[in-house]
Amino acid sequence: MLVRRIKMTQIPWQKDVDAALEQARASGKPVLIDFSAAPA
């Protein structure tokens, strides 16, 4: 499983959904949106 080796803390999270959707259209990659209420 490709994603199994990923460490969650190393994920390069972005904050701008629309910018990410634009990148998705350009790259063909899907967007994963994490909705959080956890303390920063």
């Binding site: 994603v3 390069p12 972005q14 904050k15 701008d16 959904v17 899907p30 949106i33 909705f35 959080s36």
Partner: protein, 136 residues
């Protein structure tokens, strides 16, 4: 993960409008959105890492399935069904693996095999009940 997704994290205190836009009334919620902006998979509530990663793989499978890339979809579903059989997403992945194989081959026997697998491995799951219609 960056190899498979463009990851975005939004916080309820900073971007409540994004929660409303995507209909996310609870946290944590994760959704997989395809390049056309269509939601293809949703996870609501906390999951241990292994379960979460299995859900992401399941989401990638659904994405490929909607693109009619059935061989790639099946590979993703099988990696959850057989690679993470204890995960919560495994029964659903086994179901969709059978469907993807059927769509790829037009051979309905794959649905029956998926139904048998679900009946044997996850008899109490809703996915076994959904697949029961494929059993003879």
């Amino acid at each position: 993960m960056a190899a498979n997704f463009i990851p975005v994290k939004v916080h309820i205190k900073e971007q409540k409008q994004v929660f409303d836009r995507f209909g996310a009334p609870w946290t944590p919620t994760q959704i997989v959105v395809d390049a056309e902006g269509e939601e293809r998979h949703r996870v609501e509530g906390f999951l241990p890492v292994e379960d979460f990663l299995a859900q992401l793989e399941l989401g990638l499978g659904k994405l490929k399935f909607h693109q009619k890339r059935f061989t790639e979809a099946e590979k993703r579903f099988v990696s959850v069904c057989d690679g993470s059989p204890e995960s919560g997403g495994a029964p659903e992945a086994c179901y969709w693996a059978g469907v993807a194989r059927y769509k790829e081959t037009d051979d309905a026997s794959h649905l029956g095999r998926a139904g048998e697998l679900l009946k044997e491995r996850y008899p109490e799951s809703e996915w076994a009940r959904k697949a029961s219609v494929w059993l003879h």
